[in-house]
């Protein structure tokens, strides 16, 4: 049985309350850190654990923490990114709803490590009911001496608050999140200066995803080495995967990194296989912005090795034949799904969510949506496919923030792996409205790239 570090007690009755959480070993990490560890010790354990940012970028958390500037007399802030908005991702909501105290405990330990006395959880506005759950849990934590002045007699003070967004995917980008928390439009900032030097109110700031902060709790409890013992290579520990699409058991699963993609999709412990006995056509393994994989590249890499749920294995082959673990938003498509329609749907999302600040993303996302709409509805031209390829290339890498890349990659990957389906939409404009292209012919990576 796979080990669960975050969701171990998720199904315990009343775990969202302080008493039950405490009875199940809650707040032990705070006790341990405040009583027997220096802030540097905590950072050291996180470095040893190999924990990587769980929001999508996968940057080593310990290293990110070590970048925070510590000018004399300037307050520092830890911000929790609970703006979860990447299509296909719903793990943070699950964690916060089920075990709010785990996030709070993680915030206390992490804030202590960073030397922050005032921290914030920025949560997407649509999760207002989760915000309520968090505020209730925070009130309990204050009442029991885990927040506020002189926590548990340690001399360490921490205030923790929750602040909502109001509907903007871009606020998941850390500098846009900071702008939003300052009460402004969610326009990402130019970097440098990086938030570690000038973040919230121009003070040194670290922004971490909900799951990342929660993972600090087991790391402090059991030690970084113990955490690093789970997983494969540089993909250590456990990861929450949000599974959705045409599978039997959609939901949030905690996996040990390194489980095979095949096991994840087909085992009853996880997705439970394809719904209605359909064949798998494609998979987006890390949230809508990562490249889509065609069926012959999902469970095996182009080199024929078993594909694992790790940062490295999912990216094996680069964008030519790989994808990314991203935020762990795992979307599975069966043979009845239309790739052109799905790509159009995603491009509409990015068009809707572009902040509009820099020109390639502001103009390009809308252009891609329009061209894809035309293709999907049978009015496309063959040149549209090349045009789409050009537009995404003009956006990728040329924007202020990664939203441009996130908008470009799904389009590029769809054309790369499913070009004939786009061509079919042009050649069979009437049929594409009535039926779907179905599964790509039995293919392998070699036959495609021969």
């Amino acid at each position: 049985m796979a080990r669960k570090l975050l969701l171990e007690h998720a199904q315990v009755e009343g775990i969202h309350t302080y008493d039950v959480y405490r009875k199940n070993g809650g707040y032990k990490a705070v006790e341990k850190a405040l009583k027997s560890m220096s802030p540097e010790d905590v950072v050291e354990e996180v470095k040893k654990s190999g924990l990587r940012g769980r929001g999508g970028a996968g940057f080593p958390t310990g290293m990110k923490w070590s970048f925070i500037a510590k000018p004399e007399g300037v307050p520092r802030h830890l911000l929790c990114n609970a703006d979860e908005s990447e299509p296909g991702t719903f793990k943070d909501r699950y964690l916060m709803e089920k075990i709010p105290h785990l996030l709070i405990e993680g915030m206390i330990v992490s804030s202590y490590a960073l030397g922050c006395n005032s921290s914030y959880i920025y949560i997407r506005g649509e999760y207002m009911y989760v915000l309520q759950i968090l505020e209730r849990a925070i009130a309990e934590a204050y009442a029991n001496g885990w927040l506020g002045k002189n926590i548990q007699g340690s001399g360490y003070d921490l205030d923790l608050h929750v602040s909502p967004g109001a509907g903007a995917y871009i606020c998941g980008e850390e500098t846009a999140l900071i702008e939003s928390l300052e009460g402004k439009r969610g326009n990402p900032r130019m970097k440098p200066p990086f938030p570690a030097v000038q973040g919230l109110w121009a003070r040194p700031t670290v922004v971490n995803n909900v799951e990342t902060i929660a993972a600090v709790v087991p790391i402090v409890n059991e030690g970084g080495d113990s955490y690093a013992a789970i997983g494969v290579g540089k993909s250590t520990g456990t990861k929450l995967i949000s599974a959705s699409g045409n599978i039997n058991k959609p939901g949030v699963y905690e996996i040990e990194l390194g489980v095979s993609v095949e096991e994840f999709i087909y085992s009853d412990q996880y997705c439970g296989g394809m719904k209605n006995g359909k064949r798998i056509k494609a998979c987006v393994p890390g949230g809508s912005s990562v490249p889509i994989l065609p069926h012959y590249l999902i469970t095996k890499t182009a080199a024929g090795e078993s594909r694992l749920m790790t940062y490295e294995s999912l990216a094996d082959g680069g964008f030519a034949s790989g994808s990314m673990l991203g935020s762990g938003g795992f979307i599975v498509y069966d043979e009845d799904q239309c790739i052109v329609r799905n790509t159009w749907n995603f491009s509409r999302f990015y068009h809707h969510e572009s902040c509009g600040q820099c020109s390639p993303c502001r103009e390009g996302t809308g252009w891609m949506e329009k061209v894809l709409h035309r293709l999907e509805y049978g009015h496309g031209k063959m040149e549209d496919i090349d045009l789409l390829w050009d537009i995404q290339r003009q956006i990728e890498g040329n924007t202020i923030c990664p939203l441009g890349d996130a908008a470009a990659w799904p389009v590029a990957a769809a054309i790369r792996h499913f070009r004939e389906e786009f061509e079919w939409h042009v050649n069979e404009p009437k049929r594409c409205l009535e039926t779907n292209y179905g599964l790509v012919k039995e293919k392998t990576f070699e036959s495609v790239n021969a």
Partner: protein, 322 residues
């Protein structure tokens, strides 16, 4: 600060220049001048916080610094990236840069009305120059273009949002020159627009400067709109004793008539001394001003076309286009 701060030596397209630490790539390039200078549609030296948005000034850093010679993986915005000692930069010598820039120009133009023939900014429009140098001759955009109603934002300023490229310069101007900003960027994505939200007249003494900082014809001077093509006017350096501003301006003359007053711009199109509304909109008599002499206009500019002592140079781009 010690006086002998060591300078950073950097190279742009093979030309070397020494600059102070903290200088941006764009400003270093401007010291070199000529073809080394990347175009900048949103950056404006005197407007704090401006830059980074239009992406036309992207350059390739082929060597990060003497200490860390690794190239930067992505193209960087030269207006907001500071130089390192030994940095090597490629502007026009990089095909990647030229491709990206042409891509950005295409993006800026897909929703632009291309109404240069009736636009007051034509002849002094940075987007026009940019498109001429880096644009394609045809458009691949086959959808309806985004349009907005024209708005009067104040007695003397016309906002033609359809032409706007959202450089945010006018917003920074209002933030920094006036004490109560009344216009801003509303909505988001490609629906974003400059506006006041409510019907609101911008009345601040210095608000007229938004016209000068606008790189395109989105904000124009209503006292001059449709009066003349800019190249039929004669720009003169003028000044007056003004209680509000420096009083140093350019009077754009038609015969003896002051058709328009603007602030003085440098060779990169930037105003160094902003002027007040009174000078700009109300001093339209020749007798209001002391004339210093003809304004120097770059000989490649179309504004030079009809005047003065200069021959029309053969390579004047906009003339050859016709």
């Amino acid at each position: 600060m010690s006086e002998a701060t060591p300078k950073f030596k950097i190279t742009i397209d093979g030309h070397t220049v020494e600059v102070d630490p903290g200088t941006t790539i764009l400003n270093a390039a401007r010291l070199l001048g000529g073809d080394s200078v990347p175009p900048a549609m949103c950056y404006y030296t005197s407007l704090k916080g401006s830059g980074g948005k239009c992406r036309t000034c992207l350059v390739e850093v082929s060597k990060g610094s003497e200490k860390d010679p690794r190239p930067m993986p992505k193209l960087v915005a030269s207006c907001s990236t500071t130089v390192m000692d030994g940095m090597e930069i490629k502007n026009k010598s990089s095909q990647r840069v030229l491709d990206a820039r042409s891509g950005v120009v295409e993006m800026l133009l897909i929703n632009h009305p291309l109404d240069c023939p009736i636009c007051d900014q034509a002849g002094e429009c940075h987007l026009q120059d940019l498109a001429y140098e880096h644009g394609k001759s045809n458009t691949r955009y086959e959808f309806e273009r985004r349009t907005f109603e024209k708005l009067d934002i104040g007695e003397y300023i016309k906002l033609h949002m359809t032409r706007c490229i959202l450089c945010y310069r006018c917003v920074y101007t209002a933030n920094q020159l006036t004490d109560k900003r009344e216009h801003g960027v509303l909505k988001r994505g490609d629906a974003a627009e400059i506006g006041t939200f409510i019907e609101n007249n911008l009345t601040n003494d210095f608000i007229g400067n938004v016209i000068d900082v606008c790189p395109v014809g989105a904000l124009t001077d209503k006292t001059f709109r449709f009066r003349s093509r800019v190249w039929y006017t004669k720009p003169m350096d003028v000044h007056r004793d003004c209680p509000t501003c420096s009083g140093k301006a350019v009077a754009w003359m038609i015969g003896d008539e002051v058709a328009r007053v603007t602030a003085r711009k440098d060779q990169f199109g930037e105003v160094k001394e902003f002027i007040c509304n009174d000078c700009r909109f109300h001093k339209k008599e020749k007798s209001d001003w002391t004339i210093e002499g003809p304004r120097h206009i770059d000989r490649t500019s179309v504004i030079s076309a009809n005047h003065y002592e200069l021959e029309i140079p053969k390579h004047t781009p906009l003339l050859n286009k016709a």
